[in-house]
């Protein structure tokens, strides 16, 4: 896989990360300040929060928002991107709006949604979706523009149904673009969801960070961050990478006899 070419060998993770934790522990032990807890303090907090169920409750709330916002943004963004990539008129109509939305700070959307619709779940998810749709649309539009006209003609001659055309002809060609949108999307959406929660929800990792911030509970902040990073990595390893491997199996660079 091309995406892995720049990735260092696995052992570097096992050397660098523990060293970092060790260094952090050392500094914390020397400083003896409540503002920099030791790794053990953080682990303690993590275990306690997890035992009371708080951690799972808030992590679950955040995860739920991410899943809903991500799915909506991908579906809407992909649809808009395909249409924009295939039709000059639609592109002319939507492109200026895309430019506008792409440059709109996430914070502004969040505030506006909360102001207009109140501090409700729908407003929170909407804010995230509105932030993400333009990115997905722009990425997928590139893919839709590069669809192979030769396969389009083939699909026309052999009278592919709409469904077949989408599933068999378009999605495989759009896959790298959808994957790029997914990766970029998840990274962005996680972060926006935290801000959304911090500003106007009473559950979720963002909300917990907000609470911890008010009492300067650095151990809690780090504990939640750690849990959060772990979940994001798990999604990467358990869902995204296998999906990518599975879908690029047909690419066989060594197989080209022709």
């Amino acid at each position: 896989m091309k995406g892995r070419a720049g990735r260092p060998p696995l052992w570097s993770y096992w050397v660098v990360l523990p060293s970092f934790v060790l260094l952090w522990g050392l500094i914390a032990w020397l400083l003896q300040s409540p503002l920099l807890p030791t790794p053990l303090n953080v682990l303690d907090t993590l275990i306690r929060e997890s035992a009371t169920g708080e951690l799972w409750h808030h992590l679950g709330a955040t995860l739920g928002r991410v899943v809903v916002a991500f799915s909506l943004a991908m579906i809407i963004g992909t649809a808009i991107g395909i249409v924009m990539g295939r039709s000059q008129t639609t592109n002319a109509l939507f492109d200026p709006l895309l430019v506008l939305l792409l440059n709109l700070p996430a914070l502004v959307t969040i505030i506006l949604m909360y102001v207009w619709f109140g501090l409700v779940e729908v407003a929170a998810v909407m804010a995230v979706v509105i932030n993400k749709v333009p990115n997905v649309a722009v990425t997928v539009r590139e893919g839709a523009r590069s669809l192979d006209y030769r396969l389009e003609e083939m699909a026309t001659v052999y009278e592919f149904t709409r469904r077949q055309r989408l599933r068999e002809v378009w999605v495989p060609q759009l896959f790298p673009y959808l994957m790029a949108a997914t990766r970029g999307g998840l990274a962005l959406i996680w972060k926006i969801v935290l801000v959304v929660e911090l500003l106007g929800r009473s559950s979720g990792v963002g909300f917990q960070l907000h609470m911890a911030f008010q009492v300067f509970d650095v151990a809690a902040i780090l504990a939640y961050s750690l849990a959060f990073i772990t979940v994001v990595q798990l999604i990467e390893l358990a869902i995204l990478q296998p999906l990518e491997r599975r879908s690029s199996r047909w690419r066989q660079p060594e197989a080209a006899h022709a």
Binding site: R150, L151, E153, M154, T156, V157, Y158, F160, Q164, E168, V169, P172, W250, Q252, A255, A256, H257, A258
Partner: protein, 223 residues
């Protein structure tokens, strides 16, 4: 079964002029003409791929099943040969049988890009047959094959034509020799915009003579 009335349409780039012709069951047409004259354009027009050709210009197409062998294989590279054939309507047994017919027995689980050029073209031919075509369109089927592979493919196509007497065929080629083996009718496309300069339906023995006579009489230097 098919009637062409492409009457000097403006194709954006004015390639084709007036083309009037009818195609009947069992017609084996070789479409000859200089390079770049619009032979593929005419084939695309017949197949309904040229959006600038109104649907009324090709009468009877909607009732026909068309198999089109493009210059590239145009199989879906992410699907196996078997899946490619099943996508156009063949069941597993038919797919296996058709692949066998084109000399690709046991290659059903291969991906198109694992095959050589000649094999991929034969696989694409199998897909043409998988739709049980009334009309088979071949766009320079022997181009860029070495002489041995081209000869094999020619024999293969001749055999397929023999076993399906009802099917019509239009084969774009540069080579009069192809016509000799495959055709019972010749189209010659030339001029600017291009028209059918001849449309000769000939019995078996006469075809070559007509072809040779025509080619001799033709000013091949252009103008």
């Amino acid at each position: 079964m098919l009637e062409l009335r492409i009457a000097g349409c403006d194709f954006g780039q004015p390639v084709l002029g007036e083309v009037f012709a009818t195609i009947a069951r069992g017609d084996r047409i070789c479409l000859l003409g200089p390079s770049g004259i619009g032979k593929t354009t005419l084939l695309n027009a017949i197949a309904g791929l040229d959006k600038s050709v109104p649907d009324e210009a090709v009468i009877g197409r909607e009732k026909l099943r068309v198999g089109y062998l493009f210059q590239e294989h145009r199989l879906l590279p992410w699907r196996t040969l078997d899946a490619n054939l099943r996508l156009v309507g063949a069941n597993t047994d038919e797919a296996e049988r058709l692949l066998g017919q084109v000399g690709l027995s046991g290659y059903g689980h291969y991906l198109p890009d694992q095959l050589s050029l000649g094999m991929a073209r034969r696989a694409a031919l199998a897909r043409c047959l998988a739709v049980k075509p009334d009309l088979l369109l071949l766009d320079e089927p022997f181009a860029s094959l070495d002489p041995v592979m081209a000869g094999e493919l020619k024999a293969l196509i001749a055999g397929i034509l023999d076993s399906r007497p009802e099917m019509a065929m239009i084969c774009v080629t540069h080579d009069g020799g192809d016509a000799e083996i495959l055709a019972n009718r010749l189209w010659y496309l030339d001029g600017k915009p291009a028209r059918l300069q001849w449309d000769d339906s000939v019995g078996e023995p006469g075809l070559v003579d007509v072809l040779l006579g025509r080619l001799r009489g033709l000013d091949l230097t252009g103008s």
